[in-house]
C-alpha cells in the first residue's frame, strides 16, 4: 500500500494512562474555544488525515505553504491549517506551554502544546490561498474575520466527537485496512460536495474500469448557501451505490472539513488527504473546489504539473454531458455530434428542477437519487 504523505501516518489520539494524566492537567490550563469546523480539523490532524501535520502551522511553515506550496522540508502542502486567536486570548495564554481546546459544549477535546503565537497578514494569506482579495469569495470573507494572531504547535486529541454521520467516519488506518481486506491495490479517490448526477457516476465508473476500487469521499462540513445538505448527499450516494454499483468495488466514507473554495490549491490538498486514506489515484474534474469565476475551469488540473512528488496519481476528466444522438454520457473526446444534441449536467439547472419538486430527466439524474432529494422538505443549505 502507498505510504502516507510525508512517509508516516500521524496518530495524535491519546488513550489509556497518558490520556488520564492529560485530563488531570487540563483544568490548570488556559483554554481556546473551537467551533465545529475547528474541532473537525483538530480530529483530522489527530487521525492522520492531514499527515504529516501534527498540529497547527508555525510561522515558518505558514510562509512556506503560502509562498512555495510546500512545508519547510519540501513536502507538498497547499492549504494552511492554522488556529487563529485574538489579542485578548493571546494575553490570557501568556507564556503557558499548553492550552486546552474546548468544543462548543465547553468540553475539553484536545490539548495544544504552544510552540509560538505570531502575527500574520490576513490580506496576504487570503490572496495567496484564494488568488483574490474579493470579499465575495467565501474564503476571503472568512479570512477577513480571523483573529489577528495564529497559535502554533502540536496537538493531542482527548475526546472524539460523535455525530449523526458517525457510521460513515473512517480514519486512514481503517480505510487502509479496508482496502487491503478488499484486495484493492489501485484505488481512485473521488471528492464531492454534491448529490450525484449521471456525469459524476460516469466519471467514477470510467475511473473504476482501470483501478480496483472507488473511494467516494464526500466533504461533510460548512458549505455555501445553495449547496446540498450533508445528509442529503450521503443518502443520495447510498441510493446510487445500492442500485448501480458493485458493492465490492465502492466504498462510501466522509471527509469532515469545510470547503475552502480555494480551487487549484484545494485540489492538491484534497489529493493529499485521499493519499493518506490509502488512495493511489485521485479524480480531478472540471473546476475542482472552485466557486464563481475565480479560477480557470482547468486550473485545478494544471497545478498538478508543479508536484511531481505528490505521490498520488491525478486522473483528469473534462466535462461530461449526455448526447441524444449517441444515447449516452460523452465528452468532447468521444462524441462527434454538435452541441444541439447535448444536455449538460448543469448543477444550477438540476437544483432548479428539484426545487420545483420535479424529478430531473433520466439522462441527467437517476430516479432513485432524485427521490431521496425530493424526500427532504429543504435539501439545500440556506
Amino acid at each position: 500500500m502507498l505510504k502516507p504523505h510525508g512517509g508516516r501516518l500521524v496518530n495524535r489520539i491519546l488513550d489509556g494512562k497518558v490520556k488520564e494524566e492529560a485530563l488531570s492537567e487540563v483544568q490548570e490550563m488556559p483554554f481556546i474555544n473551537l467551533n465545529l469546523e475547528q474541532v473537525r480539523d483538530l480530529e483530522n490532524i489527530a487521525f492522520g488525515i492531514f499527515s504529516p501535520l501534527e498540529g497547527y502551522l508555525n510561522r515558518e511553515q505558514l510562509y512556506c505553504v503560502l509562498n512555495e506550496m510546500r512545508l519547510p522540508d519540501d513536502t507538498p502542502w497547499t492549504i494552511p491549517i492554522v488556529l487563529d486567536i485574538n489579542g485578548e486570548k493571546k494575553e490570557e495564554i501568556g507564556k503557558s506551554e499548553k492550552v486546552s481546546l474546548k468544543n462548543s459544549g465547553g468540553e475539553v477535546v484536545g490539548i495544544l502544546e504552544v510552540e509560538d503565537i505570531y502575527e500574520y497578514d490576513r490580506e496576504e494569506f487570503a490572496e495567496k490561498v484564494y488568488g483574490t482579495l474579493d470579499v465575495n469569495h467565501p474564503g476571503v470573507a472568512k479570512t477577513s474575520k480571523m483573529g489577528e494572531y495564529l497559535i502554533a504547535g502540536r496537538i493531542s486529541l482527548l475526546r472524539e466527537s460523535k455525530d449523526e454521520f458517525y457510521r460513515f467516519r473512517l480514519k486512514p488506518v481503517e480505510t487502509r485496512v479496508l482496502f487491503k481486506e478488499k484486495g484493492w491495490q489501485q484505488i481512485a479517490g473521488f471528492q464531492t460536495r454534491n448529490v450525484p448526477h449521471l456525469g459524476h457516476e460516469y466519471l467514477q465508473k470510467t475511473a473504476l474500469t482501470f483501478v480496483d476500487g472507488i473511494f467516494i469521499n464526500p466533504i461533510i462540513g460548512k458549505k455555501k448557501k445553495g449547496d446540498f445538505k450533508d445528509e442529503v448527499i450521503l443518502e443520495a450516494y447510498e441510493a446510487l451505490i445500492d442500485h448501480y454499483y458493485l458493492k465490492e468495488r465502492a466504498v462510501l466514507a466522509i471527509f469532515r472539513t469545510e470547503m475552502r473554495y480555494a480551487g487549484p490549491r484545494e485540489a492538491i490538498f484534497h489529493a493529499i488527504v485521499r493519499k493518506n486514506f490509502g488512495c493511489t489515484h485521485f479524480i480531478v474534474g472540471r473546476d475542482h473546489a472552485g466557486v464563481g469565476n475565480y479560477y480557470h475551469p482547468y486550473a485545478a488540473q494544471k497545478i498538478f504539473e508543479e508536484f511531481p512528488d505528490l505521490g498520488i496519481v491525478p486522473i483528469f476528466f473534462s466535462s461530461f454531458y449526455h448526447c441524444q444522438k449517441c444515447g449516452g454520457v460523452v465528452n468532447e473526446k468521444t462524441c462527434p455530434h454538435p452541441e444541439d444534441f447535448h444536455i449538460k449536467f448543469s448543477g444550477t439547472r438540476i437544483r432548479e428542477i428539484l426545487q420545483k419538486g420535479e424529478v430531473p430527466p433520466p439522462e441527467i439524474m437517476r430516479r432513485e437519487v432524485a427521490e431521496i432529494v425530493l424526500g427532504y422538505e429543504n435539501p439545500f443549505v440556506h
Partner: protein
Amino acid sequence: MVEDKDKKFTSVSIPTPLFEKIKERIKGTGFTSVSSYVVYVLREILAEEESEEEEPFTKEDEERVKERLRSLGYLD
C-alpha cells in the same frame, strides 16, 4: 511585521555540457530555468523511491480495526 519569505537555496554542480543540454531541452516548455527543471526531476525521483511499501500494521491493531469495520457494515 517581519516576513520570512526568503527561499532557501543551495548550489549543486553539474557538468557544463549537461547544463547546456538541459537548457536546450527546456526551450518552449513550462520550465523557466535549468534549476527549475533539475528541481522537478529530483523531486520526481525522490518521490518514486519514497513510495515503497509502508510498515504493516500489527496483527492486534489490524484485528481491532477489522472489528470496527464489521460493526459499521464495511466488512462482512
